[in-house]
Amino acid sequence: MEELNLKEILYIILNKWWILVISTIVLFSACYVWTNYYVIPEYSSVTTLYVGKNVDQVGIQTTDLNMGASLIDDYREIAKSKLVAYEVIEKLGLTGMDADTLTSKISVSKRGETRVIQISVTDADPGRALDITKTVAEVFREKVIEIMQIENVQIIDKAEMPTHPVSPNKNRNYLMSILLGLAVGVGVVFLIHFLDDNIKTPEDVEKCVDLPVIGTIPVFGIKGGRYING
């Protein structure tokens, strides 16, 4: 492999800048078309719930605090269980949607180090996203009370009608496509550079045929009707 210093690398890239421009334009326009015409926008509705501990237990112990961290996984599993899913489907009368599809729309996360959990549902239809979120929250509350024997489960923020789609994230996609375009362009430039075995420098001559270079003559003469010299 040839040794290259930073200047030469920069020069190689700048010398074929149009490859970078083309690859960036191609990828960006592909991304633009894909984002705006092919991806179905999805809406997300969010609700938060407080899941406390039973009132009969007095005081807070460190074990309780540690438990909090792992309990989120329990809640997630419950929220995304088939049990909840079937009930939501039944309640909303969502014919044509199976439990797996529904659970894939639900995501559960914890708000910081609190006992507040957040349930969000993403769907192509904002109204349906709202309905599902509401119903999931209700069913989830019932099931947590039933299964985990926790009585203090409250809905804090009710689900609202989403106004803006969460996906596709246009700006992020555009940025990614530009970066990817530049990266691909640089790759292509280097590929061309290393596949090109034409003699360009005295080193190339010496490496290729092991003959001394006794002189280097710069380009001169008429080029484009202009006399260039040196």
Binding site: N198, I199, K200, P218, I222
Partner: protein, 262 residues
């Protein structure tokens, strides 16, 4: 009349390109000190790599160094040297070899002092045979006594065998490579063709070097050029300010003269 653009060593001896040819001349001269080399053939792998331009400028550069130089157009297929130097090319090398004529009759003076040219002459049907003949061999031996350096322009070694034949008659073979356009394989083949006939390959001249792609080889030229330009500008500036100063001085002298003497 010489071709203005290609014969840059003659028309523009202060240019960077002419400087590059002088560097080439110096390299050849210093390599020849021990070996007593005076006859050279210049060839390339492919056509259009700049053989004729290189050899013509190189010969001019040698002539400028007060050497008696003979330039022979041995490209019996597509002779170009006479056009470049603006001399009649109807009679020349082929007449000498084919007719066993005296070579002195055909050698012409060029516009460049000390530089003599022998054009190709009539294009023969059998160039390789002519070049391989004993007459040619004898001619090269004879003529080399009359001049300090003899350069021969040959057809590309990759296409025809002429250059390989010529390389056996001379002291050194110079290979011109068109930078950026010649592949490594083509250069290797050219070297093989010459090595097969035991030619003494003197070295490679990398022609049409792109300034950008070979930035580091141009640093010297850049600096040289810049300092040279700066120097000129500064000198001009200094002269300007000096003349201004003179003007002011004369003006003040003038006004002093006009002032009534107290």
């Amino acid at each position: 009349m010489v071709d203005n653009c290609t014969l840059v060593a003659h028309t523009d001896p202060k240019s960077l390109v002419s400087e590059a040819y002088r560097i080439l001349r110096t390299n050849i001269q210093f390599s020849c000190v021990d070996r007593q080399m005076k006859t050279f053939v210049v060839t390339s792998s492919n056509p259009m790599e700049g053989k004729t331009t290189t050899i013509a400028n190189l010969a001019v550069t040698f002539a400028q160094a007060d050497k008696r130089v003979l330039l022979i157009d041995c490209d019996l297929r597509k002779p170009q040297l006479h056009k470049m130097f603006g001399i009649p090319g109807r009679e020349g090398l082929t007449n000498i070899i084919a007719c066993h004529d005296d070579y002195r009759k055909y050698i012409q003076k060029s516009d460049v002092p000390n530089l003599y040219i022998l054009p190709c002459g009539t294009i023969p049907p059998n160039p390789s045979e002519l070049l391989a003949s004993n007459t040619m061999k004898q001619f090269v031996l004879d003529v080399s006594n009359d001049y300090d350096y003899i350069f021969m322009d040959a057809p590309p070694v990759g296409n025809v065998t002429d250059a390989a034949i010529l390389s056996t008659l001379v002291d050194g073979t110079i290979l011109v490579a068109n930078s950026g356009h010649i592949s490594g394989d083509a250069l290797k083949k050219a070297k093989e063709a010459l090595v097969n006939v035991n030619a003494n390959i003197f070295g490679v001249v990398l022609n049409k070097l792109d300034k950008g792609a070979n930035r580091k080889y141009y640093n010297y030229n850049y600096y040289y050029n810049r300092e040279y330009d700066d120097g000129q500008k500064k000198r001009k500036k200094r002269r300007n300010s000096a003349s201004q100063f003179d003007d002011r001085l004369s003006l003040s002298l003038f006004s002093q003269e006009n002032r009534p003497l107290v």
